[in-house]
Symmetry: D2
Subunit: 347 residues, 4 copies
């Protein structure tokens, strides 16, 4: 075990980020030290990099970001019993308090006092990361590290898709970022009859088709509502998976939803927006679900089962593989919209 | 059986309504003729009376309005087997098509081709009314006619309250019209721990307390959010029953809802409005349900069981009892806001 | 339209069955006359043929059996609006009363007064069959007639599999008759992680593998409990689909079920049997579901969606295709255990 | 804080139990020392006292039994943050491992490696008891200690009653021991329409009526099935709460259950027994739930809400109040069947 390691560090309350050599942390009681083998970049990391208003309000430098990763256990603290050195692992990076009403009633994913590693404390953009044992997810060998580094966003997708019945259902996915794209593959693997992907970016529409979308529509040029109505015999879709957070897309998604349907909302709108509640929710008898994080740990069992039995091909969403030291290029690729998922490897 | 009867008739596409002597209709095959013994006035009837834009778009005079009533079977058409002359009955006035996806999957209350008696065809503001056998609800003797004439709005309340777990839950009811008030009594009868009623009208707040509300708050003068947070140890309520359709009330209701809570929306907003979806639904992991009508006929079994075992005191919401011939006064009372429920009796 | 037709008739209260020329029936109001194009043989038909104690107690000859079929609409009675001549159709052969508690609360599949066509009234082993419009299921062109004649048992399988979460679950199927085998395909199409098939008949185990079973085990020679425990890391399966009705198989199935799992029981045991309720259900916190028929008509929508999008290959279960006139051979094949599904075609 | 305390100790692997003066234990990190103010006696304690086969196989003396209690925090170990000295508390005595599949998916109440305080480690029949912080339940002042000492069995009742819809339902309770009796009160408080209690012991039937049962029937002398059918218009009950574990009672309970009903089984049969699965579960489309322990901690929130708002009168089930030193009399009272709940107080 070396004494120091490479880490990507948000050092100052200002735009930018830098590569540093920092001490390898030691696991305290109940903690696990993981040697990072793959770490993926999320939009949140870009917010931290660009130091946008959200980042200014939430992040306290210095901080090592990164909350999507996998690796091998390098050392365990006192009392750790469920993993040992060498085990392949990923981790749920939302550390729940375990004491609030939500934590005590099966809703730890919306814990009132959640602390996110990579946001509120050091994360995984480094050669090593410290994770509480309770948040470690031990991996079967069948899951490759690149995929395992995507369990956080894949978990969002799985949580959203499986928040209600999906088998034999018609589904609209509004927004084909990484999570939207993965939700297409998850829905199809779980028996969705037809998936209609709605996305403005042509490359992402092409990837949507690769992930299994039956139709990939451009809301700027296609008459989406008319095409989806036609494809569903005038009924509308059974399920809306809202992955964009964009008001126009959300309104379109609700317009596509059939009477009595389910709308599961994961995309985060940046501000309040107008919806016709009477038409789109109330008269429709719709069920609308706010989705956040991953169920701890039901979603993780589901993901593992789907991945380990080969039901999900995530390859199309991994558009770039870089070294951890190339993190600035990763940020630029993400910023430009050219990348979907960038997986980085510490050297 | 007389040849003619008293009926309140919307005769012209214009404001107003009139009392007429019209022929008593004869029940066709599969239909039931009911002698009306009590009929209640709904806000919808007021829209028809006042000939507002909704009424102009939907109503085709001449029409006998009225969709809340009870009575006794006077005659049955060919093939009717489930009731006979003299049986006490009320009726579900939403006539579902029985053939659409929704009707065939347990969602007849949001039938795509619903026809409402008293809106799309003649209703119950008359001495006799014609009802399809499938929509008749036979009453046990234990339920008095005045209460039985309220099964339509009571059914809205029961449908909303029982759309999710209610026992041992804390509940906010936004809007204390007749349905909001009845939902308080239903929630308490079904084990709700505490009910917080939110209503601007002082008289209705007083009735809310009679119906069982633990606190009745005025959003114009009380700091509702702070008082409800305090009463719930800072958590917020488990369940929101939205009965107002008013954007301010809906936003307040969502603010009161705890993380992981349920919001059941029955009130109809008259236009699109802005909501902070990120804060109020998505991060909160909330479940939002659009509620419409009554489940056919699960809600009816529930209502009957609650009423027949004496669990609901509806007396406080019946503020006026009039003759059918006093229908204009009924409309005025409702318009003024002085009345909650007006029950009319044909002579 | 001819005046007479071929029909397989149970003519006498005694073993056997015979081919007769009988009048083509005329559809009454609300009825549909279907020209049968494929009809499948069920174990129930064999009971009727062999005149076993169940048949003696239930069947009133003369009767045309047969309740699994598809065909084309030949004529419609008065008032029929949802299909017309030439439409391809199958049908739900459980005719529910529409008036009992179960029918009025979404449980028509367990109607208290159900009447089964092919059992309590004439069925489909004939050139033509009469079906109430409400029970007709209009088929998309994408579904071939042989498959469409299997919608009744396929519906049993779909109903059982989708009676709870199945995606990402481990599943044991005890009993690989036609419905058990189809349930394997349905479970895999709906995202089941692994399916363990348990069946004594070697041919059926081979078909189970073709339908997608990950392991097909013989309870007579394999240590099923130990093998399934090992395959599930000692946990047991998430879901038991009981398709045999055999006490030994049911006890084995419960032994395989993990704590907190779901057991959906479709197979009909012929007599009461002993189970260790404390160990197998109560301490285990298991959920046990009795499954009967198909949900009207949610299951039908699900089946159609799965079949029309090519998710189910039913070919391996159709072991024989015969002419309707070869019905005796069909009975013998079924009796011998050599056949799984025999599809017959009227000439 | 004294150095020693009174404790009831199972000292030897033989019948009997004795009062001893033992050291007051000190709370380790994460543990809470509670001064016991009320402790109730459970049938399990009687098994331990009498040293029956179950006790022989499970209990390792010396052991302080007792798993139903309440008290005040006397001291807290390092790291304890959620309670402090003087807080009134009770506790969930099932200590879940937190690491198995069940614990990680919201089913900690059926943890694969559960350890029960008072059974597998020292419990509460003493002046002081040690409890892990995670299992402590902080009490509002509104709940008296006698009631608070009953939260364990009350939790069984609440868990069983609220395992499915109960409002407006008809309910049969088979077996009116303490938990059965409390389940009657819980069901009524949560809106059950009618509760039919079935119990052979006349005193318990009388208490059942006090708890709110609409009918209390003696299966030895009443024709229970006929009376309940009549009371439910021939339909049978919507919900069976099985609290006896007695095969005859279970078979009767299933016979009473309506088609499509829910059977929640808490009573533990002492051996396998015969049931007619075809008639009682499968054709009936019944849902059967094995119920164990209390949901951690959803059931606790529900109990607290019901008790704190005065919805439950538990007084009738507390038949005896003794000093802890009178534990032998408590055992005898329980053994004789004269007692329902005996609450003991350390001096």
């Amino acid at each position: 075990m070396p004494n120091t390691m490479q880490a990507v560090v948000k050092a100052e309350p200002a735009p930018g980020i830098e590569l540093r050599e920092v001490p390898v942390p030691a696991p305290a009681a109940g903690e696990v030290l993981v040697r990072v083998q793959a770490a993926s970049v999320c939009g949140t990391d870009l917010h931290i990099y660009e130091w946008d208003p959200w980042a200014k309000g939430r992040i306290h430098p210095p901080l090592i970001p990164g909350h999507e990763f996998s690796g091998a256990v390098a050392a365990v603290g006192r009392g750790v019993t469920t993993v040992r050195e060498g085990d392949l692992v990923s981790a749920e990076m939302h550390v729940a308090c375990g004491k609030c009403l939500q934590c005590r009633t099966g809703l730890a994913h919306v814990c009132q006092h959640v602390r996110i590693l990579g946001v509120d404390a050091d994360g995984a953009f480094a050669s090593y990361a410290i994770i509480p044992e309770s948040n470690i997810w031990k991996l079967p060998n069948a899951i490759p590290h690149d995929y395992a580094s995507l369990l956080d966003p894949l978990g969002n997708a799985v949580h959203t898709v499986l928040a209600g019945p999906i088998a034999a259902k018609s589904v609209a996915v509004t927004g084909c970022g990484a999570i939207g794209l993965m939700s297409i593959a998850v829905a199809k693997a779980c028996g969705a009859a037809r998936v209609y992907a709605i996305e403005v970016n042509a490359h992402r529409r092409a990837v949507a088709a690769q992930m299994g979308a039956d139709l990939a529509l451009d809301p700027n040029t296609d008459n989406v509502e008319s095409l989806v109505r036609e494809a569903t015999d005038g009924t509308g879709v059974d399920v809306l998976l809202e992955m964009s957070g964009h008001p126009e897309a959300m309104r379109l998604g609700f317009a596509l939803l059939r009477t009595g349907g389910r709308a599961s909302l994961l995309g985060i709108p940046s501000r309040p927006f107008e919806l016709d509640f009477a038409r789109d929710i109330i008269f429709k008898g719709a069920t609308v679900q706010g989705i956040n994080g991953r169920k701890m740990f039901e979603t993780w069992f589901q993901m593992e089962a789907l991945l380990a039995t080969g039901k999900l091909n995530l390859e199309p969403v991994i558009t770039h593989r870089l070294k951890l030291s190339e993190f600035k290029r990763a940020m630029e690729l993400l910023h430009s919209g050219d990348a979907i998922k960038v997986v980085m490897r510490p050297e």
